[in-house]
């Protein structure tokens, strides 16, 4: 797909991609107690890559992903399901939340938890499925 994109869009695409990805990670991490979470963060990240695709072209967009979006779906789904397992190993009901407080330099105490891994899984599934659809549609149009 060769899009006659404007100079403004091309220039903005370069800057917006990292910003939007960071914003999506911010949404992902704040999602536990405040609005946000894996689903919406995944949509933002997918939108960022889609915007990049419009400003550049499909091959470049695929290249910055490093992996095939379909791998993200499988990996994310597996991670989400497995995030319920640690509770079982401790003899609790499936999906019972477990907390692991970790003290990091600079950041202070960070609470890792199983819902975080569930959310990351959701994030990957959403990014993977939206991009699979978008990239395939763009390529199908390309073939016409």
């Amino acid at each position: 797909m060769k899009i006659e994109s404007s100079l403004i869009l091309r220039a903005a695409g370069h800057f917006l991609l990292p910003l939007l990805i960071i914003f999506s990670l911010f949404l992902l991490l704040r999602g536990h107690n405040e609005p946000g979470g894996g689903f919406i963060a995944g949509l933002v990240a997918a939108a960022a890559v889609a915007l990049y695709m419009f400003s550049m072209d499909i091959q470049t967009a695929r290249k910055i992903l490093y992996v095939d979006p379909r791998d993200l779906i499988g990996g994310g789904l597996t991670l989400a399901v497995l995030s319920g397992v640690p509770a079982v190993l401790q003899g609790k009901a499936f999906f019972t939340t477990l907390w692991w407080p970790v003290t990091l330099p600079l950041l202070g105490e960070v609470k890792l938890s199983t819902p975080l891994f569930f959310d990351i899984g959701v994030y990957l599934v959403v990014v993977g499925s939206v991009l699979t659809i978008v990239l395939n549609l763009a390529e199908a149009e390309d073939h016409d």
Binding site: G74, L77, T78, V81, G84, K92, A93, F94
Partner: protein, 504 residues
């Protein structure tokens, strides 16, 4: 903590996720399919044994105690249904090894199959009405994708009807959930049952409205009269392994929910609902069997017979005596195995002759006598001939009808049994007995790229046929199982106590 209740949902979910990870390798996906469904079958057997020995099993997901959290509940009916899911899933996965074309595997047949099984098991095990809705959607989304896999014109046509009516039913389901939540303030099934027992007189009318809304919604899902059109329009279009699992499981989820709701939740005012159910059951039986009589395509005949058989199960629920419920549960057990098997047989016939049209088929008994026998077992069982499973299923329901003095229902059941026999004999005559049409004598395999081994076709068919015979021969233990589940259904206090931990 009771992991075995969650396993029948987790295993197919995990198997689906892992087969997505290996989406490049068809080989890995096939064997994840076999082992995943095999593990599901094993988990289902464990769950049924545990439920039989220790009573109703409950698991509070994420340690959030009901009625606030989502509970998974396995009573005998739920456990039996999960076991049937495991059996059908495993048989289909084996069959799929040879019967699913490579292009379909490429478009995600196996992940979708696992997702479908997870949705079905989830619907059987959940104790929360909204969670039930979610599992229904999981199941439907997977089935939408499976039904159009391959993208042929006939499939699209069938899928539009299938999707439209099912979405309509989901919308009704959701509205009914909203109303129910408005009255009771809870969606935990056990809690709803308690709260509905306490509603004031003026709200009783609204409760009846809600119960009818649910009845219509699940009537559509179960393909009951008068909203069954989507089923014969769509079930003959996808790959036969997909047809088999749809035919065996999907409509039965609707029937299961009817059994659950109209014994547990809407059991206070049975006058209205169960009269409607009675007529619904009888008309479903009649229209289904008459529709089948007019068909001359293998899978279309079988599709119409799903509808008529659904009628028997609903009849069992409608008569609402202990014996009738036993009959209904027995019928579900018999029907799922037999129906899935008949579809698998039709797939093997297609593999051998390349057509489903009865007029183009013939002479198969001469060339494949064993296949003829393997067709006759489920076919005659469906028609209700002793000593096969269908005889006992029909016998219990008709006996219950006589005891309840529902003479019309008894007459309809007997007539429908006779017409079923007519349809099955029609298939037997056309496909197996008559001489093959001249231009079709040589084998015309539909697809040969999966190797030519017929063993993997015969294996699941023979195993399911054996099960049909065994259910007939060992009817007593199966009857005891059905009796146990009926006793639990008719004494909802036990279910409520198991879930909420209090005496209602």
């Amino acid at each position: 903590m009771n992991l075995s209740v969650a396993l029948p949902i987790l295993i197919p979910l995990l198997a689906g996720a892992v087969s997505l990870v290996f989406w490049r390798s068809h080989f890995a996906q096939r064997w994840i399919g076999v082992f995943g469904t095999g593990a599901l079958l094993w988990a289902a057997i464990v769950l049924l044994l545990q439920t039989w020995e220790e009573g109703i099993q409950v698991m509070h997901m994420g340690s959030w105690v009901g009625p606030f959290g989502i509970v998974l509940v396995s009573d005998l009916l739920g456990a039996i249904m999960v076991l049937l899911t495991g059996i059908t899933g495993f048989a289909t996965a084996l069959y799929s090894l040879v019967a699913i074309p490579r292009e379909h595997e490429k478009f995600g047949y196996y992940p979708l199959l696992h997702l479908l099984l997870a949705g079905v098991s989830g619907a059987f095990l959940t104790g929360d009405i909204f969670n039930l809705y979610v599992w229904f959607e999981v199941m439907l989304v997977a089935s939408f994708a499976l039904i159009i896999l391959g993208g042929e014109r006939a499939q699209m046509e069938g899928a539009i009807k299938y999707v439209t009516l099912n979405l309509f039913s989901s919308a009704l389901f959701l509205s009914a959930i909203g109303l129910l939540y408005g009255i009771t303030g809870t969606l935990n099934m056990a809690d709803v049952a308690v709260k509905l027992g306490e509603v004031s007189g003026e709200e009783q009318g609204l409760v009846s409205v809600i119960s009818i809304l649910f009845l219509v919604a699940f009537g559509i899902k179960a393909a009951a009269f008068p909203l069954f059109f989507w089923l014969p329009a769509s079930y003959h279009t996808p790959q036969v392994a997909v047809s088999a699992i749809f035919a065996g499981l999907l409509t039965k989820v609707g029937v299961y929910v009817l059994f659950r709701f109209y014994t547990l939740i809407f059991a206070h005012d049975t006058e209205l609902t169960h009269t409607i159910l009675l007529w619904m059951g009888m008309l479903t039986m009649l229209t289904g069997v008459l529709g089948a009589a007019a068909q001359f395509e293998f899978r279309r005949i079988l599709s119409f017979h799903i509808i008529s058989q659904i009628g028997y199960m609903i009849l069992g629920l409608a008569i609402f005596t202990p014996l009738a419920i036993v009959g209904g549960v027995f019928y579900i057990m018999h029907h799922i195995i037999v129906k899935a098997n008949l579809f698998l047989v039709s797939g093997l016939v297609y593999r051998l002759r390349g057509t489903y049209e009865l007029k183009d088929l013939g002479g198969l008994y001469r060339s494949h006598p064993w296949l003829g026998l393997l067709f006759l077992i489920p076919a005659l069982s469906l028609a209700g001939l002793p000593p096969l499973s269908g005889f006992f299923a029909k016998f219990v329901i008709i006996r219950a009808g006589i005891e309840a003095e529902q003479w019309l229902a008894v007459a309809v059941s007997l007539l429908v049994g006779l017409l079923t026999l007519y349809s099955m004999i029609k298939i037997w005559n056309e496909v197996f007995w008559k001489a093959a049409p001249a231009e079709r004598t040589e084998e015309a395999p539909a697809y040969t790229h999966q190797g030519n081994s017929l063993l993997m076709y015969y294996l699941p068919i023979a195993a399911l046929a054996l099960m049909t015979v065994l259910i007939g021969v060992f009817a007593q233990p199966i009857y005891l199982l059905a009796e146990g589940s009926a006793a639990q259904l008719l004494a909802p206090a036990g279910y409520i106590e198991a879930v909420l931990g209090v005496q209602p």
